[in-house]
Amino acid sequence: MSHPAKASEFLQDAAKAKWHDETLWFVRDKRDTISKTIPEWEELRELASQIKDNVLANLYEYLVQFEEKATANGIQVHWAKDAEEHNQIVLSILQKHQCKAIVKSKSILTEECHLNPFLENSGVEVVDTDLGERIVQFLNQPPSHIVLPAIHLKKRDISELFHEKLHTEKGNEDPAYLTHAARLHLREKFLGAKVAITGVNFGVAETGEFVVCTNEGNADMGVHLADVHIACMGIEKIIPRRKDLGVFLRLLARSATGQPITNYNSHFRSPAQGKEIHIVLVDNGRTDQLAREKFKNSLKCIRCGACMNTCPIYRRSGGYSYGSVVPGPIGSILSPGLDLKKHSSLPFASTLCGSCTDVCPVKINIHEQLYEWRQEITKAQGTNAKSISMKIANGIFAVPFAYKITGAMMRGALKILPDSITYSGLNTWGKQRDLPETPKETFKDWYKKNRS
């Protein structure tokens, strides 16, 4: 199903859709507020972007260096060219330890590799331990947002779910009560697991260490109680130096949730005595993306989710409408690289307003890449009736000058457009919604006025 069709489903529950929209905007707003407390914010973004450019240009050397250092530190390094190889490696480690139940903290990569169903088919119980991920796992759903996995659900839904799964009081919707129930349930799982799996936020070539950031502390609860820690890491997560962490940790949580840093930032360099750490370096399409000159910048992503929170389409269509593991603007430029046919509607799920590019802490030119993908897809698809609405959107929103010209004209245009375009009947995701209100002044003007 295409993005517009699924977005239309999401919009059936108007009240929920409105809540989703407003809540994510609130998170975006928190990001704005906190970023303004850092005078060097823009300089930090530029630094982060340059560091990642350097990484992509020297990925070979950094990966080899990382492997060498990590191995010297006593970490076992594995390489997986694709999801299948990744899953096999993980399974073989579990089999070696005769492990039938694992705990796993948030890892978008293992979602991408569909590790859970693979392990479950092999008789391994997988427990996702991030609260939001546990909730969606109970529902047999994937996360709908990379930072806020259960943002599409209301507490009523979760209360009913926990009543069924964890025998909480019927009708008790208090988030503290429900969280506590999950705490008790997951504590048992932590204490019982011999192997714990985590994702990786950053791998440091210079030292061979890797960093995992959480607020709940679930990654650490898992790995420090288990005998074996398996860390699954996309090859693009490498950064050159330890001190680069200073730049990225300043940007990550502020961009993600508007907090100054995640509460737990763990640096794993060597296993504790008698324990094992494995790291699986995964390609799964990343080298293909690296070879695409126009799109390789998408690999700079640090998965903060800011582009989702700010996106007028994401907020009003929900994570599932994208049908890809990473949804939202960044997902819409990553996923077509993995399967162009399946994800061909995603680059069109955008107004090309450029807000994603503006908030991205590593300065990925997201909206320009969306535009580039449209060209690729139009070339690949030729002309057919199905893409008429895309073409209209393309024609009006996507002409390069339309987003390159400065302010006033485009803002004027947006005001005239909604009725003719969003309600034209050709544009499904626009049916039940309005375009965002256009600001009366440019951000620059506003900023000048309000800064002092």
Binding site: W79, N215, H267, D283
Partner: protein
């Protein structure tokens, strides 16, 4: 071809341009370190307290399972460090020595040397970190400068108690790890 050779060969085949690694400047920090640090900890839902407030906290709650690893607080300890972290499941209070704190965000650096067992600051019900006031640094750049090439097997920044907002974005303290963080600044 193994996964490793496959991946490295593919990367090698891609034409590359030279992109320089930037130097990271020392950014100024305008605020008083102590004031900023205390504000940060509060914002992260932690608390900065004195030694006598710590004693009150323990007395009022009648905690009995306390493990102390901080200098000068030995008398508060009621149990030694076990060899297996699973035995810490009932622990009520862990008191740990922090190496330094970061003013801009309240993060406190700890390594294996401070932790005894890596699970300790997570599995305990309440966490107390003892920190010397003079150890405060301004921001994360200074923090990593201070860490330098310290070779610890495990190091971490803790900035607050375990928390989540996964249910309708309502903040709840005490997800899986410590339900509270108190910092004794001395």
């Amino acid at each position: 071809m193994s996964g490793r050779e496959n991946i490295l060969a593919k990367i090698k085949a891609i034409p590359r341009e030279s992109r320089l690694l930037p130097e990271i400047p020392a950014f100024e920090f305008p605020m008083d370190h102590k004031v900023a640090f205390m504000l940060s900890i509060q914002a992260n839902k932690g608390e900065v307290i004195t030694e006598s407030e710590l004693k009150d906290f323990i007395a009022i709650n009648r905690f009995e399972k306390i493990l102390n690893l901080a200098k000068g607080m030995e008398s508060l300890s009621t149990q030694p460090l076990p060899s297996d972290a699973h035995e810490l499941n009932e622990l009520e209070v862990a008191i740990i020595q922090g190496q330094f704190g970061v003013a801009e965000n309240g993060a406190i650096w700890l390594t294996d040397e401070n932790l005894g067992l890596r699970a300790l600051p997570f599995i305990t019900e309440h966490l107390v970190i003892v920190l010397e006031e003079k150890s405060l640094v301004s921001n994360m750049h200074e923090a990593y400068q201070r860490i330098g090439d310290q070779p610890s097997g495990f190091g971490l920044f803790i900035a607050g108690p375990s928390k989540t907002a996964d249910i309708e974005q309502s903040l709840v303290i005490g997800a899986h790890g410590a339900k509270s963080l108190r910092v004794v600044l001395r």
